[in-house]
Amino acid sequence: MAVYSDTVMDHFKNPRNVGEIEDADGIGEVGNPVCGDMMTFHIKVDDNRISDVKFKTFGCGAAIAVSSIVSEMAMNKTLDEVRKITPGQVAEELGGLPKNKHHCSNLGAQALNKAVDDYLRKQGIEVETQEGGNGEDE
């Protein structure tokens, strides 16, 4: 059996929403090249909803697929809904991830949350930094 599911391979080969948004309302960055993966998420927010999302990722196939599916999951969702996206859901949407790649799904949810934090801060709203995104699932 292949290491990655068909969905992972699809998102890896044809990642959705790659890029940056020039006048983004919020930017989230997680990871660093030293530990292997790095993701940046740019979001546009309209009426408390994500109206556009773009990502860039330095990392393995799983990291790219995670970023892509997270961007899809976030699109047109309210900020509250976005907050509720868990790493577990991300992995599930991808048809599962190998055990040693679960941290990639954490990173995806974290990066998106950081972008939301950034947006809220820019609106003058106090936010506590959510270190683990929606909690580590390992």
Binding site: P33, C35, G36, F58, A62
Partner: protein, 394 residues
């Protein structure tokens, strides 16, 4: 197009090797220890095999211990040679870029109370013989430095290393899994006391290996049981694997010059052309003292596993030492020991050529990789940062 450029992970089994092995599974299945004609046949074949494997490395037949793999040979060497000399001392010296079968065996000995010194390497992955000399103490009982590293291709100044170890009167082992059958290896020219080799890097079967131990050097058996392999490695002999290894050795001896020439040619094309087609590429390993079929690079701003997967989609098989590619999510200890920055090591990509590869294969790889690199760089936040900095700098 299907192009296999991952020969360091395992070569194919040559048809001559397979044909030579098959009768030992079908008809000549006797146990070499048996005193009947079936046993005689297997024993004679094994004796002949021992001769041929010994010839590959210039040793004597009775000094060859057949094992199941390079890993077993290395385990047996490190643990068995060190333990045999325990009364003399409990210090082992290895290099920082050894295969895990040496590294982790040394770690096990550490848990048993031995001291282990790791000799560093330079940025090309070279061990300095003087460093080895400096690391040897009064209680040093074993030094093990690999002949060449399969991951970055660097060939060590093994004779000079052997000389300083010998001058200190210490037992010297070398892991020659990447070199035996690939480049000329002669135990007497090198001046080693023990040497590991394996079949699956020289077109022999997996599950075949040997440890050569110079006559007179003591070693504690790794597997206890019967009297096989002179009592040094118990267990019913895997005759098909053993004769397969011997056939592969015989073919290597007669074809080694041709193989080296063919593979160096392909390697040199890759090393010359790749940086012309992709910018920000670093060649890893030594520029000239390297294995014939090894071209290893780090491609900046992107990660190795992602490149490997896209290449695989295009029918090209390679490997990578990136953290993401490894199950343990750790960057290759070899690249790390060479002082390559972690973010650069993440872009590791290793091409290893074999007998079946042609110039057309290399051209295909050279045409296929650049668009993949481009695509991944367009996706990479590191690359966009780099580009912005470039613009800002001007």
């Amino acid at each position: 197009m299907q192009v296999y450029l991952d020969n360091a992970s395992g070569t194919k089994v040559l048809p001559e090797v397979l044909d030579y092995m098959t009768p030992f599974m079908r008809e000549h299945y006797g146990n070499p220890q048996s005193m009947h004609s079936w046993g005689d046949y297997a024993r004679e074949a094994m004796d002949e095999a021992r001769d041929r494997v010994a010839q590959l490395i210039g040793g004597h037949a009775e000094e060859i211990i057949f094992t199941s793999s390079g890993t077993e040979s290395n385990n047996m060497a490190i643990k068995g040679l060190a333990r045999a000399q325990e009364p003399k001392g409990r210090h082992i010296v290895i290099s920082a870029i050894e295969h895990f079968s040496v590294m982790h065996s040394a770690k096990t000995m550490q848990k048993l109370g031995f001291d282990v010194t790791q000799v560093p390497v330079d940025r090309y992955g070279m061990v300095d013989p003087d460093e080895v000399a400096r690391s040897i103490r009064k209680d040093t009982v074993l030094v093990s430095v690999m002949h060449a590293n399969g991951e970055v291709g660097t060939i060590q100044p093994i004779q000079e290393i052997a000389k300083v170890v010998k001058d200190a009167g210490v037992v010297f082992h070398t892991d020659a899994v990447a070199t035996a059958g690939t480049i000329p290896v002669n135990v007497n020219e090198i001046g080693v006391d023990a040497l590991s080799l394996a079949g699956n890097q020289m077109y022999g079967p997996r599950g075949s290996g040997a440890l050569w131990v110079r006559d007179g050097v003591r070693i504690i058996p790794f597997l206890d049981g019967g009297v096989q392999e002179g009592g040094k490695r118990a267990g019913t002999e895997d005759v098909p694997a053993i004769v397969g290894l011997s056939k592969a050795s015989e073919l290597a001896v007669s074809n080694i010059r041709f193989r080296m020439e063919q593979q160096s040619k392909l390697r040199d094309i890759l090393i010359r052309e790749l940086p012309k087609r992709i910018d920000h590429v670093v060649l890893t390993g030594h520029p000239s003292n390297r294995l014939p079929g090894n071209a290893s690079f780090c491609i900046e701003f992107i990660e190795g596993e992602a490149m490997l997967m896209f290449l695989s989609e295009e029918g090209i098989a390679v490997s990578s030492g990136s953290a993401c590619t490894s199950k343990a999510l750790k960057a290759s200890h070899v690249l790390t020991a060479m002082g390559i920055a972690p973010e650069i090591a993440q872009g590791s990509l290793l091409f290893t050529m074999g007998l079946d590869n042609t110039e057309a294969d290399i051209s295909y790889a050279l045409d296929t990789l650049p668009p993949i690199v481009d695509r991944l760089r367009q996706m990479s936040p590191l690359y966009s940062k780099f580009q912005k900095e470039q613009k800002g700098g001007r």
